[in-house]
């Protein structure tokens, strides 16, 4: 109790210095939290992947399509509960800056495979009745103000022309990490139009999404599907949904790694600043430490005082930094738009922030505590005059 009194009062002795130090820690913890959230967002797709879904694509690369005829054959493989398919549309909504994922899907089977997309039955019915209907995610709807009944025009890049849709429903995610920034429409609409403008490209599918009867069948079904189409015109590559998502991440891995490194760098920078502060403070108080030692206080109580003060300052800064991370993340997500479909500060990040703050406080106190414990009383007293 007594030590707490000393620690708190000492911490507030130099209000400007303590204030600046706390500010520095707040900035560092905030930056750290934001960066880690960015890294998490990168992996969000893989995190949200289901263990009972597989993705099959053309073995050459994602830009090559698969024939529609594969669907029936995949359906017959043992372990497969259902099959659906999707095409990446890649259209432009007004300007290129407004990026969000658009998929032409076989609606009935697709939404059955994604129970985490929650749609009201009425809206679903409207969607099924309108061939040009579209279902959009809640996040997308809030960014662009889409409501059921709105007309949306997308300028095709892969599939040329201007495509008109009518929003028929808005889906919510079952969990915080579900991606609600997607735009779904009927594959039939895509196919019919392509049959008219470019028949060679009709009846083709971007990826097949396969639902397994149980997660344990994943390896067997994966092998079976790829074996079925080996040596055909369009060989397939099947992987779990998580592996598929991670594939994208690994292609931009360099950037994610860089961001992770930078997030740790920020902690080191502020550690240097705080260590400096504590060192200066300890040096200025060497007469006091010498006096305490003369009175009979051992090196441990002295070290405890210094650690206590450092940790107290770090704790204040850390708590403030953690609290600010949430509104900051929201601002950031708003700025970046739909580049990161999921942008949540999760509990793991908060724990890392807390640990970082504690680490900063502890490391910063090490050298000063050591010096204070070792100071020779006579020398320390001499400093006073």
């Amino acid at each position: 109790m007594w030590y707490l009194k000393l620690i708190v009062r000492n911490a507030f002795r130099h209000q400007l210095r303590t204030g600046l130090t706390v500010l520095g820690i707040v900035v560092a913890i905030l930056a750290f939290g934001l960066l880690r959230t960015v890294v998490d967002a990168w992996y969000a797709g893989a995190e949200a992947a289901s263990a009972t879904r597989l993705v099959t694509r053309n073995a050459i690369s994602l830009i090559f399509a698969l024939p529609l005829t594969y669907q029936g054959r995949i359906r017959q493989i043992e372990g497969v509960k259902s099959v659906s398919h999707a095409n990446w549309f890649g259209g432009v909504y007004i300007t290129e800056k407004n990026f969000f994922p658009q998929f032409a899907v076989q609606a009935q089977s697709y939404f059955a495979l994604y129970p985490e997309f929650i749609i009201s039955p009425d809206e679903m019915r409207e969607f099924m009745h309108d061939r040009r209907g579209a279902i959009v995610g809640r996040r997308l709807a809030s960014i662009y103000g889409f409501k059921p009944g709105d007309q949306v025009t997308l300028r095709g890049t892969i599939f040329p022309g201007n495509w008109e849709f009518v929003v028929r429903g808005v889906y919510d995610g079952a969990e915080a990490r579900t991606d609600t920034s997607q735009f779904f429409f009927h594959w039939e609409y895509l196919n019919e139009t392509m049959r008219k403008i470019s028949p060679r490209r009709s009846n083709s599918v971007g990826v097949y999404v396969i639902g397994l009867t149980s997660a344990g069948h994943a390896a067997a079904v994966t092998a079976a599907i790829d074996a079925t189409f080996k040596n055909s015109l369009a060989e397939t590559l099947t992987e779990t949904e998580q592996a598929f998502q991670l594939g994208f991440v690994s292609m931009t891995e360099a950037i994610v790694v860089a961001i992770e490194i930078v997030s740790y760098l920020v902690i080191f920078i502020i550690m240097a600043v705080m260590a400096n502060t504590m060192a200066m403070t300890a040096r200025e108080r060497s007469a006091e430490y010498a006096t305490l030692k003369a009175l009979g206080f051992g090196p441990l109580p002295l070290a405890a005082m210094i650690f206590g003060e450092s940790l107290a300052i770090a704790a204040v800064g850390g708590l403030a930094g953690i609290a600010l991370t949430f509104p900051a993340a929201e601002r950031f997500a708003a700025e970046v738009g739909s580049l990161f479909p999921v942008f949540n500060v999760d509990s793991g990040t908060v724990m890392m922030q807390a640990a970082a703050a504690l680490l900063i406080g502890a490391v910063a106190a090490c050298l000063p505590a050591l010096r204070a414990a070792q100071v020779r009383i006579a020398d320390g007293l001499r400093h006073a005059g």
Binding site: L6, R9, T291, K293, A294, G296, I377, A378, L381, A384
Partner: protein, 229 residues
Amino acid sequence: MPSSTESIVEIRNLVKSYRRGDQIVPVLSGITFDIAAGDYVALMGPSGSGKSTLLNMIAGIDKPDSGSLRVAGTDITALNESDLAAWRARNVGFIFQFYNLMPVLTAFENIELPLLLTDLSARERGEHVAAALAMMSLSDRSDHYPSELSGGQQQRVAIARAIITDPAILVADEPTGDLDRVSAAEILHLIERLNRELGKTVILVTHDPHAAGKARTVRHLEKGELSEA
């Protein structure tokens, strides 16, 4: 007159040198003398004579290079750091030139500080501190911070702190060096009372003959060697 002929401080052949860069500067070259219990000793000498160093040795806050030092019945040269710290807490009261009070603690809390090393309860500590404050006529200043007290008042707080654990010896290094004449006289009077009424052994270091005026025994230190007054 010393109240007993028993020596509370026994010094034999104390030697101490300091390193300054790559030079070794001898400070004490073989000091031998005794201090009787209850005595009031003034150690005098010019600057650099080693008087503060000698005081530091007796108080257990510095160690000699060689020689023996028995204070209050213990050979303190043989004690390790933590035992020495515990010894100091029980046996020595410090009075410094610049008071050395904790700026963030009130007068009351500064005086209470040494009692934290004992196992008295908070209430018991409070009683002791109140008594000390009364003795120093500072009861009305008990929750003032050092920055709110005059030099003389601060030194009185320091003296209260020095006697709160009822130590055997009081060491004072230029206690009046930073005070005006009136406050200085007050402080010297207080110290003399502590010696006369409470029987505390006082060892005072000063270069000012006026400050040494109240002492019963005066020893001179010159270039690390002791001489009789």
